[in-house]
């Protein structure tokens, strides 16, 4: 006991995810499906696919993360949990960080583990797998952290899913560019340490700063 | 009989890895498919028997 409210909330969210596997399986399936749309819509030729594979996988990962973010705070706002966090007087910074962490565990992490399979299906060049995994491992936490800010801002809005995407997509662009370029360069046998380093720097920055923004955004939801 | 020795059978004319990998994966899925309902049945029977005993005790007390 006595985990404090933050610990208890992390535990509660993981319990909820375990009890409702859709929460982490659905983003995974969506990831697979979006990646599968491209060969169907564009061109199924493996040569062609191997050129776009890295980019397509990253776009799919980004969209899957985006969609799973919608639910991050929404239920908590609607059922009054958020009110209780504020009423508890505990640090909203810690709470936001905890929520982002949980979100990564149930979306980013499974995505990263699933990505090699997609690589196979899209004929990703063999040299690019390592870069793909590294970029996802470092990049998806940034997506979760940034996304949590958007989720906090739109938590009180009815059809927030789309609005959230609009707010967050522009912020995701740098991550997308560096990650996709890392995978692409690895595929043509070039060095990609620089890009991963940049993603790492983004991660450090996001981990320190975004919880402030999330905390501020959460307070907004209370003036309902 | 198409194969002369066991080693040849395992090698499958150079395609051994592919053949046995598919058979292996299939075996895993099938085993899970069989084991899952059997285990579920055991758990169910145990839990429900426990519940019945608990309810009986409760009734006896009342």
């Amino acid at each position: 006991m006595s985990l404090g409210l933050v610990g208890a909330t992390i535990r509660r969210d993981l319990t909820l995810a375990a009890r409702n596997p859709g929460e982490w399986l659905n983003p995974l399936m969506f990831f697979l499906m979006v990646a599968a749309l491209f060969p169907l819509a564009v061109d199924p030729d493996p040569k062609f696919l191997s050129k776009i594979a890295g980019g397509v996988i990253w776009v799919a990962a980004l969209l899957a993360t985006l969609l799973s973010l919608d639910a991050l705070y929404k239920a908590d706002v609607e059922d009054g949990s958020l009110e209780q966090w504020l009423a508890s007087g505990e640090s909203l910074y810690a709470m936001s960080l905890g929520k982002a962490l949980v979100h990564w565990c149930i979306s980013g992490l499974p995505l990263t583990l699933m990505a090699p399979l997609l690589g196979l299906m899209l004929s990703l060049p063999a040299d690019a797998y390592q870069a793909l995994i590294f970029s996802l491992l470092v990049g998806t936490p940034v997506l979760s952290l940034l996304g949590a800010v958007g989720a906090a801002l739109t938590a009180g809005v009815r059809s927030g899913g789309l609005l959230l995407s609009l707010l967050i997509l522009p912020l995701y662009i740098p991550v997308l560019i560096f990650a996709a370029s890392a995978v692409y360069h690895a595929g043509i046998g070039m060095d990609y340490k620089g890009q991963i380093g940049f993603l790492g720097a983004l991660l450090a920055l996001a981990a320190c700063l975004t919880p402030f923004a999330s905390a501020a955004a959460l307070k907004l939801n209370l003036s309902r | 009989m198409e194969f002369n020795s066991f080693a040849e059978f395992i090698a499958m004319g150079g395609h051994g890895l592919y053949v046995w990998l598919s058979y292996g994966l299939t075996a895993v899925v099938i085993a899970w498919n069989v084991a899952q309902p059997v285990m579920r049945r055991r758990r169910l029977l145990k839990e429900q028997a426990q519940r019945l005993r608990r309810e009986k005790k409760h009734d006896a007390k009342a």
Binding site: M1, S2, L3, G4, L5, G7, A8, T9, R12, T15, L16, R19, N20, A75, E78, D79, G80, S81, E83, Q84, L86, A87, S88, G89, E90, L222, S223 | -
Partner: protein
């Protein structure tokens, strides 16, 4: 019940509160003080600002003019100290439908440290004995509210702030809750409450009628 409310002194004071919403003044020059043993009911018609005032008093809404003091000092100077001594229950129950009453209650009191046994007893007290491990989505509206109210039995907070706690309760529930309020103020705690329900049975009841906003 581990509520050690007798010892702590409660002294919540509001001076000259003023609050408007959408250019309509809800209250102005409002003074009130709540101390150990007080039970204050906010009354008034729909839209009078009862919920708004409760949220001000519990520190959730800081959008007002005037002073709000806890032990004579501005409430926000030591908000987390204040927060650990006051229990706020709003319109919303903060009960997750996929979790069991026990899990929900344990989360609801995680801010304090409460022994697991006490949680079971509390659920028993609100007549959820036997439902402790049924997912809440299988409970009726009133039963779900009770999960949140079970907190009253175990949280060691001397001051309760409750917004319409009688909602969805049947007559047994109402009687139970009235008894809790009574006990609380008798044991030296304090309660601020809004309710359209009449609370006549309780001796030390004070009422604050908020201005009517009807056209």
């Amino acid at each position: 019940m581990p509520a050690s409310s007798g010892q702590t002194t409660i002294d919540l004071e509001a001076r000259q509160l003023f609050c408007e919403r959408d250019d309509r003044v809800l209250f102005d020059h409002l003074d009130l003080r709540v101390r150990n043993g007080d039970l204050l009911q906010l009354a008034g018609p729909n839209g009078a600002g009862k919920t708004t005032l409760l949220r001000l008093l519990s520190g959730l809404n800081r959008d007002f003019d005037g002073e709000l003091l806890w032990h004579g000092e501005a409430l926000y100077d030591d908000y987390s100290g204040y927060a650990s001594l006051r229990l706020y229950q709003g319109h919303l129950a903060a009960v997750k439908k996929a979790l069991t009453p026990l899990e929900n209650l344990s989360w609801l009191v995680s801010q304090w440290s409460v022994a697991e046994d006490d949680l079971w007893q509390a659920l028993d007290a609100v007549e959820l004995g036997g439902y402790e491990e049924t997912p809440c989505q299988q409970l009726s509206a009133g039963q779900q509210r009770r999960v949140a109210l079970a907190r009253l039995c175990v949280a060691p907070a001397p001051l309760w702030i409750l917004d319409e706690p009688f909602t969805a309760l049947d007559k047994y529930g109402v009687t139970w809750l009235e008894q809790q309020l009574q006990k609380k103020v008798e044991s030296g705690g304090a309660v601020i409450i809004t309710s359209h329900h009449a609370l006549e049975n309780i001796a030390s009841l004070q009422q604050l009628e908020l201005g009517s906003v009807r056209a």
